[in-house]
Point group: C2
DNA sequence: CCAGTCGCCGACTAAAATAATCGGACTTAG
DNA sequence: CTAAGTCCGATTATTTTAGTCGGCGACTGG
């Protein structure tokens, strides 16, 4: 449930890796792939997508590779995720206009789930790559309305 | 990304539906299935799972069906989700002990992602079925550390 | 006490999403 | 010129999810 795809994992690792080298250092696909045991061709596509989304910039030719397009503090985790996964939601019918969902007419979970989704988005958007690096720990838990349900 | 399975959707709808009738009223699978256009057989399994997890109680025989096992304020959204999806995490390697993940040795996203996951869990756990019913609106967004990244 | 309604369960198939691979074109430093 | 790199679409393999089927067991009302 709520699982990120491997491609997204790869994207996050790659971005984080680039962040760890400065903006000066240019890094290529193979280098990252070997560092994390990722199939090169697959990682290549991931990086290309990130490139197209403007999160990283590419340099062709020998000695080419990628560098972050901006400071790691200015790249949100959400932007990386969305770059790879596109804009999908927490539920099948993304709660958009064009839903073919059979339970639309009577759906009773549409609105509340959208709110939950927004909360999650807010959380992911509030966290930058730099943040990920820094606090591998730290709690960003929303304390509002948290007063102990739990089964 | 981060998508809940249809089964989970069905579970949430069903639970919400039961909550909307009181604990007095016993409701059967067919009734819910028809209300929301859900394939009966599939919904049946979902309800059985919820039963086994103790979220709802079943009544056999004719005039049988299900009722919530406790007040809708005491059933968290998280518990429903976990009842159906089991205990899976935001990433492939659930960040547990037994991961076969190839990038374990050097993984740089393990800890931060676990934190994000915990935040999400906290959010889902803090919301009850009753809450879902009430505020189809309302914001539970964590405002901490939210100061505008966004690409 | 028997018949029909309902829950219970596991195995099965179908469909879709994801992961990974392949083949070939384009770009550029040396 | 050429080798090292990015770029891109198409294809396949694998896994996950969605939905189906068939039979058993529990109960209740007649
Ligand atoms: S599940 Fe599709 S509209 Fe709610
Ligand atoms: S992705 Fe598997 S350990 Fe981090």
């Amino acid at each position: 449930m709520l699982k990120l795809s491997k491609k997204t994992d790869y994207a996050l690792m790659a971005v984080q890796y680039m962040a760890s080298k400065g903006t000066a250092r240019i890094v290529n696909t193979k280098e990252i792939a070997e560092e994390y045991n990722i199939p090169v061709e697959l990682l290549a596509k991931v990086l290309q997508k990130l490139g197209k989304k403007g999160l990283i910039v590419s340099q062709n030719g020998p000695k080419g590779g990628y560098v972050l397009a901006k400071s790691s503090t200015d790249i949100s985790v959400l932007s990386v995720i969305q770059a790879i996964e596109g804009h999908v939601g927490i539920t099948e019918c993304y709660h958009n206009e064009d839903s073919t969902c059979m339970q639309m007419p009577r759906c009773n979970i549409r609105t509340p789930l959208r709110n939950i989704q927004n909360s999650i988005y807010g959380l992911l958007d509030s966290m930058s790559i730099e943040d990920m690096k820094e606090f591998g720990s730290a709690t960003i838990v929303p304390q509002s309305r948290l007063n102990g349900h739990r089964t």
